[in-house]
């Protein structure tokens, strides 16, 4: 599974750094390091509603520390 976290200007300001850290943590905790390929991406084109992430081909906007675990459980763990 490929996961991209946008680190473009807008998403950066809205907290990409924290999302990457949360993502790393969650992937490790769930023992998914072998299965998930986490990368950063320059602008995913959804600047107004960051932080934007892309899981496979699905773009998810408005990720924050508050809703991170909900999104992770729903889209990554399934």
């Amino acid at each position: 599974m490929n996961i991209y976290v946008c680190v473009g200007s807008s998403c950066h300001l809205k907290g990409s750094y924290d999302i990457i850290e949360l993502m790393k943590e969650a992937i490790e905790k769930n023992e998914l390091t072998e299965k998930v390929n986490l990368s950063a991406a320059f602008c995913l084109g959804k600047c107004t509603s960051g932080v934007t992430i892309k899981i496979e081909d699905e773009i998810i906007c408005g990720v924050s520390a508050n809703n991170f675990h909900e999104i992770f459980n729903k889209n990554v763990l399934k």
């Binding site: 473009g8 986490l38 950063a40 320059f42």
Partner: protein, 390 residues
């Protein structure tokens, strides 16, 4: 015109407790490849010394730049400087370095510690001819310049550093030569060399200099062109034109901005590979595109570069940050401040709708202002700047 240029870096420490510096540096350029630098150290400290040294440096640099003889300059100073009530003399020492066509240096010295010349990082002793003008003993030298020759001029505050603290006799000129030979690195700019020497002096003074201390480094270096692109063009049909002009330029290429780097990668037929490591949580990670020397995010990174540039022109205190960190802003700073002498900016004026959000501290006018302010700073560093808008 040759492919060399003169890189000058200088800075002063004020005597502890003084608001004004009694040393003064004045630089006048004569055409493209010739400059006159005057370092003057006024008698005493504070306001009086400041006036004496400013007058001296201004008068000499202006007269020398207009091809007047050193005899005339000295006579003018002797007739102009106000006489000190306390000591009954009008006095300011001076060091003049005039670089002609980046080929020859003429050095004239009066009572300052003698200029140090480093060639390939090693001290070179050059001939000095003594002469007497208006009762003052003045030393004159002519040096044929080689690439990367570095001249170091200083006020006596530099050689007095450490007196009564770390060392009984202070820091002698020979100690300074040894120190400079030890830290010398061909990649260092004049500003870096002068900052390193001055901070060593400050350390020896225990952070409280007993005298105004000034160091000026002049380095004759190879010109080096660099190109930086930021922002997509206002008219999207201009993308190819902007890219082909940018990539046809000689020298390294820096691309800033998410959309801009996607367009550049498209143009080159390569992929953008974004790094995931945040080297510095404040600055978005960099990326790589085959064929581009550096790829970074746009406004936030450039904003930091501007802050570093402004600091560089002041006391260069942030040098230790940007000179070794690996984040985008530090990498750009090293390329622009240290490596480049000629910089071409390619600025796209497209408006990113996402940045017009009032919640975000970035918008179009800020981006334009950043580039303007950054190019002003770089000009003050002595670089040749060309900005093209698309």
């Amino acid at each position: 015109m040759n492919s060399l240029c003169t890189d000058i870096g200088y800075h002063s420490l004020n005597k502890h407790g003084e608001q004004l510096c009694g040393d003064h540096i004045e630089i006048v350029s004569q055409g493209e490849n010739s400059i006159v630098m005057v370092l003057a150290d006024g008698l005493g400290s504070g306001v009086k010394a400041n006036i004496l040294s400013t007058l001296t440096a201004k008068i000499i640099s202006t007269m020398m730049a207009n091809a007047m003889s050193i005899e005339d300059c000295v006579a003018t100073i002797a007739a102009t400087l106000p006489v000190c009530e306390l000591r009954g003399i009008a006095y300011s020492t001076f060091t003049i370095i005039r670089v002609v066509d980046n080929k020859e240096a003429e050095i004239i010295q009066y009572d300052n510690p003698h200029v140090i010349l480093l060639r390939d990082g090693k001290n070179i002793i050059f001939n000095e001819t003594a002469m007497e003008i208006e009762g003052k003993k003045i030393y004159k030298s002519k040096v044929q310049i080689c690439q990367d020759d570095t001249f170091i001029a200083m006020s006596d505050g530099a050689v007095h550093a450490g007196i009564g603290r770390e060392m009984n006799l202070g820091w002698q000129r020979d100690d300074i030569i040894e120190f400079m030979q030890m830290i010398y690195d061909c990649e260092f700019t004049a500003k870096t060399l002068s900052t390193l020497l001055l901070s060593e002096c400050n350390k020896l003074y225990g952070g409280e200099p007993n005298d105004d201390t000034t160091v000026c480094a002049i380095k004759i270096r190879q010109r080096n062109q660099m190109n930086l692109m930021i922002g997509p063009p206002a008219d999207s049909t201009d993308v190819n034109k902007m890219m082909s002009l940018f990539f046809s330029k000689e020298g390294k290429h820096i691309v800033c901005g998410g959309t801009t780097s996607a367009l550049a990668a498209d143009f080159l037929g390569k992929n953008v590979v974004t790094e995931m490591t945040y080297r510095n949580p404040e600055i978005p990670p960099t990326a790589t595109i085959e064929g581009v020397d550096l790829v970074t995010e746009g406004v936030i990174t450039i904003n930091k570069v501007l802050a570093y540039a402004q600091n560089y022109l002041k006391d260069n205190e942030c040098y230790t940050d940007w000179s070794c960190m690996r984040d985008g802003a530090s990498l750009i700073s090293r390329l622009l401040f240290e490596e480049a002498t000629d910089i071409n900016f390619y600025v796209g004026k497209a408006i990113n709708p996402a940045h017009q959000n009032p919640d975000l501290p970035i918008n179009f006018s800020i981006k334009m202002r950043l580039v303007d302010e950054l190019s002003d700073c770089l000009k003050k560093m002595g670089k040749r700047i060309k900005v093209s808008h698309f």
